[in-house]
Symmetry: C2
Subunit: 339 residues, 2 copies
């Protein structure tokens, strides 16, 4: 167990390093208000903290830097609430006052504000479309051979896809088909759609329409190809300002990561409650070695939810980010549920 003094010193080191990005020396610590012991004492404590794995040195005669374990301890036990300036609070509020019911714009805007206030990168994951339930099918003919299939969900989401019609597929066939689809599939969540289509609906359709098979196949394709949730960014390039990312290789890996939606999905664990913090290697991703990710989920009503993530260097201002994130989470949840 750490002594009070060790706790205090660890806290000061993290706080200092977060703002300065420079290794913290004993003299520097001794000058901080609230510190009553001499540099020599602090050096002894630091040596102990290093032995315990909370601190590291960049080289033999450098000051100390928090280790991952040090950050972990800090966020678990030493995180104190952070004062957010009034203007910043009202900046966040302004997003929600704007327009209501326009989810996409709201989320997009939130990502921008968050990245601006944190100076890190904000990633917002829209609600998982796969959970939405079918409200209505529609097939609109375009030419002799093509039509566009439309699925509207109960949340107002619209999926669509151009279909190639089989030879001799008549308008009345389309009508029949749409009726059957709407009869059988309303209320089915999108992620079950392809199963229902193949297992139940296909055989029924076949009885009425000759060439139903190819079209059903296309519909199955659509429902499989849907992404989990849409991703929105704010401050994608903010990482370039962080001194630890003056290395082209790291930047490249990070940028590539952010362009790969599939990889990004793994950042989120939307089933958890509250705020999660993953530090450095806890992300299990080489590109994120020097990054921490702070995530939380927000609710959009109807058991739907989205998630917010802030990606910053491990030397991130955890206090501030956690506070901002919590404000944004509750604000978003409110704005999106009440309408």
């Amino acid at each position: 167990m750490l002594t009070n003094r060790q706790l205090q010193i660890l806290q000061v080191i993290v706080d200092d390093f977060v703002t300065s990005a420079q290794p913290v020396g004993s003299r520097q610590i001794s000058k901080r208000e609230g510190i009553t012991y001499s540099p020599a004492t602090i050096r002894n404590e630091m040596a102990d903290l290093e032995e315990l794995g909370f601190l590291e040195k960049t080289h033999t005669s450098s000051g100390r830097v928090p280790s991952e374990k040090g950050y972990r301890f800090y966020v678990d036990h030493l995180l104190q609430p952070h004062m957010i300036r009034d203007e910043e609070i009202s900046q966040i509020q302004s997003v929600f006052n704007h327009r209501i019911g326009e989810m996409e714009g709201l989320i997009r805007e939130s990502a921008n504000i968050l990245s601006e206030l944190t100076t890190y990168t904000a990633v917002l994951l829209g609600p998982d479309v796969q959970q939405h339930k079918v409200r209505k099918f529609q097939i609109v003919p375009l030419t002799e051979q093509t039509a566009v299939a439309i699925v509207v969900t109960d949340n107002g989401h619209v999926e669509n896809r151009v279909l190639t019609l089989p030879q001799g597929f008549s308008p009345s066939d389309i009508e029949k088909m749409v009726n059957i689809l709407n009869d059988r599939l309303i209320g089915v969540p999108l992620h079950e759609l392809h199963i229902k289509l193949e297992a139940e609906v296909l055989s029924i359709l076949k009885q009425h329409i000759a060439a139903a098979e190819t079209i059903v196949q296309s519909l199955v394709d659509v429902s499989i190809s849907q992404k989990e949730g849409k991703i929105y960014y704010g401050g994608k390039t903010n990482m370039l300002n962080q001194p630890e990312f003056h290395d082209l290789n790291k930047i490249r890996m990070l940028m590539d990561l952010m362009d790969k939606e599939s990889q990004l999905q793994s950042l989120f664990q939307p089933n958890q409650v509250g705020i999660q913090i993953r530090i450095g290697s806890e992300n299990n991703n080489l590109a994120m070695e020097n990054c921490s990710v702070i995530t939380t989920a927000f609710s959009t009503g109807d058991e739907q939810h989205g998630a917010i993530a802030i990606i910053g260097p491990t030397r991130m201002d955890y206090r501030r980010v956690v506070t901002l994130l919590e404000m944004m989470r509750s604000g978003l949840s409110n704005a999106l549920t009440k309408h």
Copy 2:
């Protein structure tokens, strides 16, 4: 007018510099096959070419580097066709064999292949949605107060938006409204939609439905907020490999540019035919000082068109890119028009 020898030297310098990224010296040139004069002669010619503004030095005793004017002359007069390897050709072809009629996937894939083959950044601009014509309106109710409005265009594009319904708006009102919209607006191009809505349709609707005004306003919003054309990327981070972008500031400016869709639109001049090359400052954009952009338009039938742009350093392999771009342009135009 330049002598043949000067032309030859300019060509060699550009070709060499494009591949090596190093200033080209007289000795190096003299060793190239086809060059029969001594380094001293070449030095004299280079001094003349520099005086004429085609070459530059990075410092007093360095080799020569093409100036913007030099590149301009090169692409205008010295560009020779480039051999593309068979495997690369079939790599391009494979995109078009894949699936037909699925425009979005096709364009996305093309962007990736192009960026891979060029090692630069590919930007594809999808066809301008504003030109599409309305095929069908649809309003699907969600709750008492909300519904989703859907516009299908003759190209199979679907726009949609959640509407807040006025108090006491009944299902039969919706039906009436949809009928009038479909009566009056089919065939109208999207970019004229808001005008028609306000000028013609609004007054008719008002006669039949009390609270038509707010809904029409929402529809107007939708048709105004549509973007010009969707933008697809390939190889966004490829620029990081170019030695001229080892500068964080430049990278930042470029990345920011690419995240701003609005700015990117200005890269394209889709009304022009053939291939356009803009070199360095010709782009009128600080972030693109050291970049060249090669663009061309592809047709998607029905007077619709999209555009391709390759963004690379001014020290770009113009020969290769121009050839690849032309192949991709014709391939895309074919694939998208014939179906």
